[in-house]
């Protein structure tokens, strides 16, 4: 599904990702762990098509060259990024935003767009599943949301948009135990044989709820070690010291 | 006025040693001034302060003649106590003393051998007047890599004159990586004169200017002070204005940020206790990318006083990544006071952060109530709040010695 070959990324002449390689097959869950500043968010930003990076190498998504696609086209293809720091957009109603987004994606895929009622029913259902207070969806997008609410809002959007590849950038940070479980449920319910996940986290805790198939250690822009779920436990105990 | 001003002008020319070229230029400036006259409220810049009327009402007919060949007697009692400083002393517009005794001789270059220039970039009728009538002006250069050790205090004194127009001018050049600290202070022992001050500052790369302007001693003069600051790469200018003593004063600061990473800070206080009319006008021109400006002006107004703040931030289309911020706040203590503001943004670049704010009104009743509930009486509570209000501006002064000096002057010493 996703194939990253020799990805190099620089910003303002500072090299952040170095010959980065990763392959994710349909249905797989990959976790990336790594110290602050190692390049995790940079990776997710580049996958989502954020501008401002000098990149070389190759990223294929379902055999399509991602560098040739605009951000929104990638979203249409089924890439979803739950941002580490979800943005506030003043004045824009959350529900309206969600509907616009969902219908833009549906339209691009040639599917039937939802009318107001269908959409509302869908949102109601999803919000309930994620224990997200519906009232909040009538507020401005992320404005005045607590840190945890913003993260939950990202997962709500994910479950509504039903992406093929979901990238979760530290979605667990700032969540309380209950919210963590809800988020994990959201992910697990989307976990099907063709849907894949790339989960960026600092804590093994999340991986108790979402069992990854692979765990990678990212240090200084390079994957230093890959393994199964046991690697996360080992990291939690020993830290990143031994990789430096 | 026309005949009088022309006669006075010829008299000055007779008694001075200007070069022929200078005389010609001066005559040019004079004619330009005569055409426009003193600025009045029809000019956007003078909308809130009609100088023509103010001079008419408070002074009447002005005399423009000063005999610069006769020295005035110095009066050392006006010097600031307890602060080691260099000095320039103006008496009635004539330089009586220039003394940089705390500095290395070859690091400060002083000369009066400058010819006027025809096309000054910034111009207005008062600068024309200034150029026409000011005595030989001095240029002071701070040499490369030199930081002045003690502040330079410029004393503006007047005595024994009446209904006179005094014009004076100084030019400063801060060479690369140099720094200069000025305390510009008015000390008037005369009444009803119109004093017109014009400073030019050229800030080269990495240089730092700190410019503290103090008008605190009560007097009945009318003043206009124009400071023009041009800033090269990574230079910093800090201007502080205490506007309090004169009957009328307009401080105008024009700042051209032409070098990247240059920044300009202007902080000002209006503290007007009597029937007075003061104005500050700032023009910040962001002309290249990555420059920064900040203006904070606070006013406390009593008894029929009137304060005006006009602040303009201009951002050229080349000036991406500009950071411009401006705030003015005023407390009106009496029903007869007035605060006028015109905060203005003119922006042609899209990647900028610019904002301004202005607020004026009464003292915060809730705060007064809170303080009184803690045992203070009304007067104490009021004083505490006003001091706190003004302290924020004074705290912006980066030179701690001068910060203390100014705190003392306005009774903020804790």
């Amino acid at each position: 599904m996703l194939k990253i070959n020799n990805l190099n990324a620089k910003i303002k002449n500072k090299s952040i990702l170095k010959d980065f390689k990763l392959e994710i097959n349909p249905g797989e869950v990959h976790a990336i762990m790594g110290p602050n500043g190692s390049g995790k968010s940079t990776l997710s930003n580049i996958l989502s098509g954020k501008k401002g990076y000098d990149v070389s190498g190759e990223i294929l998504f379902e055999n399509k060259n991602l560098f040739k696609l605009e951000t929104e086209e990638r979203a249409h293809e089924g890439i979803f990024l739950a941002f580490q720091y979800p943005l506030e957009i003043p004045g824009v109603n959350t529900n309206i935003f969600l509907k616009t987004s969902l219908n833009a994606i549906k339209k691009a895929r040639g599917e039937k767009e939802l009318d107001a009622l269908e959409f509302l029913n869908l949102v109601k259902k999803k919000a309930k599943e994620l224990k997200f207070e519906e009232e909040k969806l009538n507020r401005q997008l992320n404005v005045g949301f607590s840190g945890g609410e913003k993260k939950k809002n990202e997962i709500l959007q994910m479950s509504i948009l039903q992406p093929k590849l979901s990238i979760l950038d530290e979605t667990d940070s700032g969540l309380d135990i209950d919210a963590l479980r809800i988020v994990a449920d959201g992910v697990n319910s989307l976990r099907k044989k063709d849907n894949s996940f790339l989960i960026i986290t600092h804590y093994q805790r999340l991986l108790d709820y979402i069992k990854p198939d692979y765990v990678h250690v990212l240090i200084n822009g390079k994957i230093m070690k890959s393994g199964g779920p046991e690697l996360a436990i080992e990291l939690e105990k020993k830290g990143y010291e031994s990789y430096n | 006025m026309e005949e009088k001003i022309k006669n006075d002008f010829e008299k000055i020319i007779e008694n001075s040693k200007f070069s022929n070229k200078d005389i010609e230029l001066k005559r040019d400036f004079l004619n330009k001034f005569i055409v426009s006259g003193f600025p009045n409220k029809k000019l956007e810049n003078w909308k809130f302060s009609d100088l023509n009327q103010i001079i008419k009402k408070n002074i009447g007919d002005l005399s423009f003649y000063t005999n610069y060949s006769i020295p005035n007697k110095l009066n050392p009692s006006i010097y600031i106590d307890g602060l080691e400083h260099n000095k320039i002393v103006f008496i009635n517009g004539r330089i009586e003393k220039i003394d940089f005794k705390y500095e290395e001789k070859d690091k400060i270059q002083i000369s009066d051998q400058f010819e006027l220039k025809k096309d000054t970039k910034v111009t207005n009728s008062l600068i024309n007047l200034n150029n026409a009538f000011a005595n030989k002006y001095f240029k002071i250069v701070i040499k490369k890599n030199y930081s002045i050790r003690k502040p330079l205090v410029i004393y503006h004194t007047t005595n024994n004159i009446n209904s006179k127009n005094i014009n004076l001018r100084l030019d400063f050049v801060l060479e690369k990586n140099s720094s200069l600290k000025i305390v510009d202070i008015f000390n008037d022992q005369s009444e009803k004169n119109f004093i017109n001050v014009f400073y030019n500052f050229e800030l080269n790369q990495d240089s730092i200017l700190k410019n503290y302007k103090i008008d605190q001693i009560e007097n009945n003069n009318i003043k206009y002070s124009f400071n023009n600051i041009v800033q090269q790469e990574n230079s910093v200018s800090e201007t502080f204005i205490l506007s309090s003593g004169s009957n009328f004063i307009k401080n105008e600061i024009n700042c051209d940020l032409i070098g990247k990473y240059s920044s300009a800070f202007i902080n000002g206080i209006f503290s007007l206790k009597q029937k007075k009319h003061h104005e500050i006008k700032t023009n910040i021109n962001h002309l290249i990318d990555n420059t920064k400006s900040y203006q904070l002006i606070k006013s406390v107004l009593e008894n029929e006083s009137k304060a005006v703040y006009q602040g303009k931030i201009f951002v050229d289309s080349k000036a991406q990544k500009t950071d411009g911020y401006q705030l003015s706040k005023a407390i009106l203590l009496n029903e007869t006071t007035e605060f006028n503001a015109k905060p203005e943004l003119e922006i042609y670049a899209d990647d900028v952060k610019c904002s301004h704010g202005s607020a004026s009104g009464s003292l915060n009743d809730d705060a007064i109530f809170y303080l009184m509930s803690r045992g203070l009486n009304y007067t104490e509570a009021k004083k505490l709040l006003i001091n706190g209000f003004l302290l924020e501006v004074v705290e912006k002064i980066t030179d701690s010695q001068i910060k203390n000096l100014i705190k003392n002057m306005i009774g903020l010493k804790e």
């Binding site: 501008k51 943005l87 004045g91 309206i96 987004s101 | 007869t336 006071t337 922006i347 990647d351 301004h356």
Partner: protein, 477 residues
């Protein structure tokens, strides 16, 4: 005509209607004024009033302090009156209206025929110099609301007109207002009687059709004690290479406890991409909160016109009166706008609020200019001003020029202004969720404008939102 229709894609109201016109002879002079007055069968006092304004006009100079400069207007080369031939005396029944005109309004989305009328909105349709139809008149009559053309009001309600016309904008006011007083041709008149809440939205739809014609309309709205009215105006014009002048006067008077809400969606033809053609929209709008507890609220969405130059203002004379100004102004291509408001606080406990959102794109130039003046008698008054600009690209300009005068120590004035651009991060976030850049910009800009859009009556909010998106088309990328 054909060519113009091809261009409809861009400015969808750019078509012209082929109707035969009656015109006053070209030129600004006493004869023209007499012609207008005569064709409208005006009483003598009205003609005298016009001539007085004209006398005054001769002594006035065209102002030139505003930021957008325009080529000199040759006032002698304009038609001051143009009306569809068979509408110069307004038909009693809409059935009798020229079908071409009916068709025009239908195309503009304002059907005038009984069966198809917009629900809950009464419309006065002004075509060039005259009002051609007013809908729902009878229903309004039932509650005593007078809604008719100003020409009709001059005939039928002379006392009201005499008392209030020129009472807010005196004939001596300034060049364009005085010009309007001399040559105004039509417009709407509204009177809401004491204690009546007007049962429907009232609206005037202005259409400039004829070429080389200035439109000078005059609107007068009087809300008597304890009454309420919400009024909306819309404007469009055909696409022409020439610049056309629109110099309207709008006067509002709110008596004790009355409230007037005045909304404008201004979409005059803005000129083409190269800045050719378009309307000069030089309008004087002023409201007088005459009574205690009265309220006047202006909302405007200004997206059209080559040059917009207007400051809908409130004179807060009655104690406890309230003035509000909500504005969205968008300029693109070569458009220029200099707009804002004046809040004059005279009475005690008066309050005003100004929310202005300016968006400039392309090569356009936008100025917010406003005055807040708190007089020494206006104790306990307050103003809050929020003034935000958004720039798209670095070939356009945004200018904020507020004048703030506070002469009252018991009153508070607060002003805030920001200038920013749409952040890359916001765009990226929206695009990550599948929106293309134009949709994303539309969404963010609508969010930016939300506080103002919320003020519009429901029926027009949607239209306005679309307009905001369309006006910025092609300005990103």
């Amino acid at each position: 005509m054909k060519k113009e229709i091809e261009n409809l894609k861009e400015y969808k109201y750019g078509f012209t209607t082929d109707v035969e016109n009656i015109r006053a002879p070209k030129g600004l002079n006493e004869d023209t004024i007499k012609f207008i007055s005569e064709i409208k069968k005006e009483p003598k006092w009205m003609l005298e009033w016009r001539l007085k304004a004209f006398e005054r006009l001769k002594k006035l100079k065209e102002p030139n302090w505003q930021k957008p400069k325009y080529p000199k207007i040759d006032y002698q080369d304009l038609y001051y009156y143009s009306a569809p031939k068979n509408a110069s005396s307004k038909p009693k029944d809409i059935k009798d209206l020229d079908p071409k005109i009916l068709e025009t309004y239908k195309k503009l989305g304002i059907p005038l025929e009984e069966q198809k009328r917009l629900n809950g909105i009464a419309v006065d349709a002004v075509f060039d110099s005259v009002s051609v139809a007013t809908t729902f008149k009878e229903k309004l009559n039932d509650v005593g609301v007078i809604f008719c053309s100003i020409s009709e009001a001059i005939q039928k309600h002379p006392n009201l007109v005499k008392k209030y016309l020129g009472s807010v904008i005196p004939i001596t006011d300034h060049y364009f207002a005085t010009l309007n007083s001399a040559v105004f041709t039509d417009g709407s008149f509204v009177y809401i009687p004491e204690g009546v809440r007007c049962p429907m939205e009232l609206s005037t739809y202005f259409r400039i059709n004829a070429s080389q014609t200035g439109q000078f309309e005059r609107t007068l709205i009087i809300a008597d004690k304890g009454s309420y009215v919400s009024y909306l105006e819309g404007c469009t014009a055909p696409m022409r290479d020439e610049n056309q002048l629109h110099a309207a006067n709008v006067e509002l008077i709110a008596l004790d406890d009355a409230e007037i809400k005045y909304s404008t969606v201004q979409n005059w033809y803005p000129g083409d991409e190269d800045g050719k053609g378009g309307i000069y929209n030089f309008v004087t709008k002023r409201g007088l909160c005459k009574g205690t507890n009265s309220k006047i609220s202006w909302t405007q969405v200004e997206t059209g016109s080559a040059i917009t130059w207007k400051y809908p203002s409130c004179i807060l004379k009655g104690d406890n009166s309230i003035g509000e100004f909500y504005s969205i102004a968008i300029t693109n291509n070569h458009q220029k706008a200099d707009t804002g408001t004046k809040m004059i606080h005279l009475g005690k406990n008066t309050k005003s609020k100004i929310i202005s959102k300016g968006i400039s794109a392309g090569l356009s130039d936008m100025t917010y200019r406003g005055l807040v003046d708190i007089s020494s008698k206006a104790n306990n008054s307050s103003n809050y001003t929020q003034c935000d600009s958004l720039l798209m690209g670095n070939k356009c300009g945004a200018h904020t020029v507020p004048y703030i005068k506070n002469k009252n120590s018991k009153s508070n004035v607060a002003h805030e202004a920001t200038t920013s651009k749409i952040s890359e991060d916001q765009l990226h976030y929206c695009q990550q969720r599948g929106l293309n850049s134009e949709e994303a910009v539309g969404l963010i800009v609508n969010g930016f404008c939300k506080e103002v859009l919320q003020q519009l009556p429901m029926e027009f909010a949607v239209e306005a939102q679309k307009l905001v998106g369309i006006s910025l088309e092609g300005s990103v990328g």
